[in-house]
Every structure is written in structure tokens, then in C-alpha cells.
């Protein structure tokens, strides 16, 4: 057991029971399979939303409520609405008749195999007694998750991700300006 995990035992009995984990994982896997097998793009999008919501549930189980909230707002509430917005305008009748095809299945299988192999490697090393995540990573209690994320991002002494965060926002700004330039004929 990680010593820093036991240092701050949660006050309430943990909700992170295997029952919830297997339920959420099953929902995610079924949703993921539905995303790639449905011919109707709107059905695929709805299945993807289900997967993303179940993922938010997994974040909650990991005592990261802030990440879960951001996941719901950004992915399920924001990005997927825009997806649906575009997909809704595509003619459904034509999609239904066409054969599904994918030219990248070989690359896909290799990538999926590599990711699976990585997971198995991590799992077996953990089982041997080598701890993962690495020792020394602090685990925060649920009640201060938001505050701890803020101090990791912005604090003068603890904040180590400030630069990366600002770079990411700069990237987003470039994307926004690019979208405006491309969409508008005359500025």
C-alpha cells in the first residue's frame, strides 16, 4: 500500500467499489463498440456521449470531482453538442445504404495492440510489487480537489504546470483566430 495514500484516509467509506467500476467500465466498452458499429452517425454520437459520461463517473471514483465536472461540461455538454449540430444536417438515407468501410484498420489494430500491451505490462509489474503510480505522488482528499488543482496550476511555489497551461491556452487562441479568419470572407 502506498504510504501517502494511507496518510489521509477518506472520512467517508469510499464509493470506489468494484461494483461501480465494473458497471461503468461495461457501459464505456459497450458505448465504444456502438460508436464504431452504428451506421447512423447520430446514434454513434449518442453512444459516444454515454461513454464520456461513464468516464466522468470513473474520474469521480478516483476522487477527482473537478476533472469529472470539466469532462461533463466540455465533452458531453460542449463538444458533443457541436458534433450533433453538424451530424444532424447530413442526409441519413444515403448513409444507411452505403457499406461501412475503414482503410486504417491495420494501423488501428497495431495501435490498439500496443496500448493493450502497455496496460498488461503495467498491470503485471504492479502485481510483482513495483508500485504504480510511483511512490511519492500525493493523493488528495476529495474535498480539496479543486483547490489543489488550482495551486498545482497557479501557485507561486507549488505550481509546476503554469507554463504548460498557458501554452495550451495560446494554442486554443490560435485555433479560435484561425477559425474566425477562415469562416469570415471579409474582416
Amino acid at each position: 500500500m502506498n504510504p501517502s495514500l494511507t496518510a489521509n484516509p477518506p472520512v467517508n467509506p469510499p464509493v470506489a467499489t468494484p461494483f461501480f467500476f465494473y458497471g461503468l467500465a461495461a457501459i464505456m466498452i459497450i458505448g465504444g463498440i456502438l460508436v464504431i458499429t452504428r451506421k447512423n452517425a447520430v446514434h454513434s454520437a449518442l453512444a459516444l456521449i454515454t461513454t464520456l459520461l461513464a468516464q466522468a463517473g470513473l474520474y469521480l471514483m478516483l476522487y477527482a470531482p473537478f476533472v469529472a465536472g470539466v469532462q461533463i461540461i466540455l465533452y458531453a455538454g460542449g463538444i458533443m453538442v457541436l458534433f450533433l449540430f453538424v451530424i444532424m444536417l447530413i442526409s441519413i438515407e444515403r448513409q444507411e445504404k452505403e457499406r461501412q468501410f475503414n482503410k486504417q484498420w491495420l494501423v488501428g489494430i497495431v495501435a490498439a495492440g500496443a496500448l493493450g500491451g502497455l496496460f498488461i505490462a503495467v498491470y503485471t509489474t504492479t502485481a510483482k510489487g513495483i508500485l504504480f503510480p510511483p511512490v511519492g505522488r500525493e493523493s488528495y482528499v476529495e474535498g480539496q480537489n479543486t483547490q489543489e488543482i488550482a495551486s498545482l496550476l497557479f501557485d507561486m511555489h507549488k505550481g509546476m504546470y503554469m507554463f504548460a497551461f498557458e501554452i495550451a491556452s495560446l494554442l486554443l487562441l490560435v485555433a479560435i483566430i484561425g477559425a474566425v479568419v477562415m469562416a469570415k470572407k471579409r474582416i
Binding site: N12, P13, N40, V42, H43, L46, I49, P65, F66, A68, G69, V70, I72, I73, A76, G77, G78, M80, V81, L82, L84, F85, M88, E142, G143, Q144, N145, T146, Q147
Partner: protein
């Protein structure tokens, strides 16, 4: 059995919410209470909206079913349940079936974190306000899928308008909310909070409603939120998704019967939900008016009598109208019914005078009263403003509310950190 009784009674006398205390029994009870309370509020809102709109337009409104149409919403509900449930031939059956449930789930699950009182919330989350904004934004999905699945022109255009409108106003709404959250961090520890209970506690601690904090910044933030929340719930004057003169009924044109009533239920509970965000963030949540200026046991007692007096007043109105009822024998049942309703209200009022009840319902009463004020505002808007055109709506959202919100956020941060900023500047020029 004994264990169960002990488990149930162990929560009594606790000063936490059932979720924070981890008591499943009381959490379930609170969930049921909130669900029932919301349904009753939606029914009452249905009647009140028709009556108030009617009186604003110098009409009588519903008068036939029950005294002054009091039973009209129940008759409506029965009618909706008995109506034929039609699924259009070209509709996407599964999505058509799921869409109203997405809307209702999104509208109801936000009430998990709404603080009706210091201990009267189902639970308190670290991410309370974020949870409310996120889950209520999921209702767009229901509206979009409902419009698409109907496979019809008007619903599709209604759904497109609705999603564009809700996504754009969410931005302005978020900025206004963030400026209120910044205000919670102005304490000794310099840490803010997103928890709904924590936000009200911060207002109590700073001895000011955030509406009046940094005058006029608080009021501007509140105004932005108040405009955005009307657009977010698709109500007049921003009810373009269901503009009946152009789109029949917008995204729920093809829905009928029970499914339509789910949309109705979701719309009104979403209105209550955004109003309770506004009340929590800017109007001091469950705190009674003037908790600091008029403090002391005498004032506490005076304010704690108001809930009971309100109900007695409502009962008195019922009795007054009982006396004014026509004396014709056909009206006898209605007269008796109205007198009975008045008696029930007066009885509730009397019960609220009891010491233990008074102490517990006070905060719920003040919270509900503030939310009820917002509900009246919604009806008032509907009776007053003409509908916006869609390009005007987008212009207001992106060109007025968004820049104002951004400027407001920066100004709030500067004013909040003014002592530190001045100290920094002095340090530089020394």
C-alpha cells in the same frame, strides 16, 4: 431492526447534509422530498403563470375547474396522461423515445446540490456550481435529439436555434458565475470555493450579499446572469426555439401526451434550477434579509414568524374569496373547496409558529421565497417583452454580454486584490 432505528436516528441533530454525513436513508428521504416538492412547485407554477398572465392582460384566466381554476393543472395533467401518444412514421423511434428523458434527467439531477438550507441539501459537492452548470448544459442534448428524431422541418429548425442559443449564452453565464466565485476567495485563507453551501457561507462571513459586493460590479454580474438564464431556459423574450408564430411549437412539435408533459416538467424545473443558482450566488441563498444589520434575538424571532404569517395571509385571502363566492347552489362545492383550501393553508401557517418547526423551516422558506421572486420575474418578462429576432439574440449574447462579462471578471479580480496590488506597486517604486 434496532440497528436500523439507530442508523436513522443517528443523523438527527447532525449539522451536516445527509450526503456529507453519509446517511443513505435520509439522503433517499431528501431526494423524494425534493422530487415531490419540485413537482408541486411545477404544478403551482403552471396555475400561477396562467392566472398572472391573464391578469396582466386584463383577463380572468382559468375559472371553471375548481374555485378560481385551482384544479386546472390537475385536470391538465390528467388530460395529458390520457392523450394518445403519437410517434411520427418517419421518426427515429429510439432517439425520439430517449430525448424527453435526457431533458428531464438533466433538469432534475441538478437539484442534488441545491442548498435549501444550511443542512437542507441532498449533498454538498466540492464542485457544486460546476456540477449544476455542467448537468444543466446536458439538456441541450435532449432538445437537439428531440428535434432531429422527429424527422420534421419545424422541430429541426427549433432544435438548431435552441442549441446555438444555449451554447452561446452558456459562455456569458459562466463568466458571470466566475466573477461571483472570485468574491468567495476574499477571506483570510484566500481560498475560494465552488460548493453551493460554501458560497452562501462566504456571503454570511463577508456580511454582504454578492449582489451588492464591489458596487456596481456585483449587480452587473447578476444582470448578465439574469439575462443569460432566461435565454438558457428558452423562455420569453428569448423563446425562439419554440416561437409559435414561426415554428408551430419548435423542437417538441411532434410530441404529444406524456412525452410532451415531460418537456413541460423539464422546462419549469430548469427555470427553478437556474433561479436557485442566482439566489445562491448573489442573493444570499437561505440567509434571511439583514442577518447582520438587524441581529439579536428580537429580530430573529420577528423574522422567524414571517413564514407562518405568510401562510396565514394566504389562508385569509382564501377565506375572503370564499365570502365573495356567488351564493348560487351550483357554487356550493366550489365554496366549500376554497374554504377547505384556506383552512389547510391557515393550519400550515399555525404549525409554522411552533418553536421546533420554526427553527427548521426558516431557511427553506427564505430560499423558496427568493426563488419564487424569480419565477414571478419570468412570468412578468413573458407578459412584457416582445420576442427577439434571432440575429438580435445572437448580437446581445456575443457582442454585449460576453465583452461585458470579460471586463467584469478582470475588474472584479483587480478590485478584490487591490491591497496586494498597491503593495506590489509600492515595492517596485521604492
Amino acid at each position: 431492526m434496532n440497528d436500523f432505528v439507530q442508523y436513522v436516528s443517528s443523523y438527527l441533530g447532525s449539522d451536516k447534509t445527509p450526503g456529507a454525513a453519509g446517511n443513505f436513508f435520509w439522503a433517499t428521504v431528501y431526494v423524494l422530498l425534493v422530487f415531490v416538492g419540485l413537482s408541486v412547485a411545477v404544478i403551482a407554477m403552471n396555475w400561477l403563470e396562467r392566472k398572472i398572465l391573464a391578469h396582466m392582460q386584463i383577463r380572468l384566466g382559468p375559472m371553471r375547474v375548481g374555485p378560481h381554476g385551482l384544479l386546472q393543472p390537475i385536470a391538465d395533467a390528467l388530460k395529458l396522461l390520457l392523450k394518445e401518444d403519437i410517434i411520427p412514421d418517419g421518426a427515429d423511434k429510439i432517439v425520439f423515445w430517449i430525448a424527453p428523458f435526457i431533458v428531464v434527467l438533466a433538469a432534475f439531477s441538478v437539484f442534488v446540490v441545491v442548498p435549501f438550507g444550511q443542512t437542507h441539501a441532498i449533498t454538498d459537492m466540492n464542485i457544486g456550481i460546476l456540477f449544476m452548470l455542467g448537468v444543466s448544459s446536458l439538456s441541450v442534448l435532449g432538445i437537439v435529439t428531440a428535434g432531429w428524431a422527429s424527422n420534421s422541418h419545424y422541430p429541426l429548425i427549433g432544435a438548431l436555434r435552441s442549441s446555438a442559443q444555449m451554447v452561446s449564452y452558456e459562455v456569458a453565464m459562466g463568466l458571470a458565475v466566475v466573477s461571483a466565485i472570485l468574491m468567495t476567495s476574499l477571506n483570510a485563507a484566500n481560498t475560494g470555493t465552488l460548493s453551493m453551501i460554501g458560497i452562501v457561507e462566504a456571503q454570511k462571513q463577508q456580511e454582504i450579499w454578492f449582489l451588492f459586493k464591489f458596487f456596481p460590479l456585483g449587480i452587473i454580474a447578476f444582470t448578465i446572469f439574469a439575462i443569460a438564464m432566461v435565454a438558457e431556459t428558452n423562455r420569453a423574450p428569448f423563446d425562439l426555439p419554440e416561437a409559435e408564430s414561426e415554428l408551430t411549437a419548435g423542437f417538441h412539435t411532434e410530441y404529444s401526451g406524456f412525452r410532451w408533459s415531460l418537456f413541460f416538467l423539464a422546462e419549469y424545473s430548469a427555470m427553478i434550477a437556474v433561479s436557485s443558482i442566482a439566489v445562491t450566488l448573489w442573493l444570499g441563498g437561505w440567509l434571511r434579509p439583514f442577518p447582520n444589520a438587524l441581529q439579536g434575538s428580537t429580530w430573529d424571532l420577528a423574522f422567524s414568524l414571517i413564514p407562518g404569517l405568510t401562510f396565514l395571509f394566504l389562508g385569509a385571502i382564501c377565506f375572503y374569496n370564499t365570502a365573495r363566492m356567488p351564493k348560487h347552489p351550483l357554487f356550493r362545492i366550489q365554496t366549500i373547496g376554497l374554504a377547505g383550501f384556506g383552512a389547510v393553508l391557515a393550519l400550515i401557517g399555525l404549525v409554522m409558529f411552533l418553536q421546533p418547526v420554526r427553527d427548521r423551516v426558516g431557511d427553506i422558506f427564505w430560499f423558496s421565497a427568493k426563488v419564487a421572486g424569480f419565477m414571478y420575474l419570468y412570468i412578468w418578462y413573458r407578459g412584457t417583452f416582445p420576442r427577439y429576432r434571432f440575429d438580435q439574440l445572437m448580437k446581445v449574447g456575443w457582442k454585449v454580454l460576453l465583452p461585458t462579462g470579460l471586463a467584469l471578471l478582470i475588474l472584479t479580480a483587480i478590485v478584490g486584490m487591490r491591497t496586494e496590488l498597491v503593495a506590489q506597486v509600492r515595492e517596485v517604486f521604492r
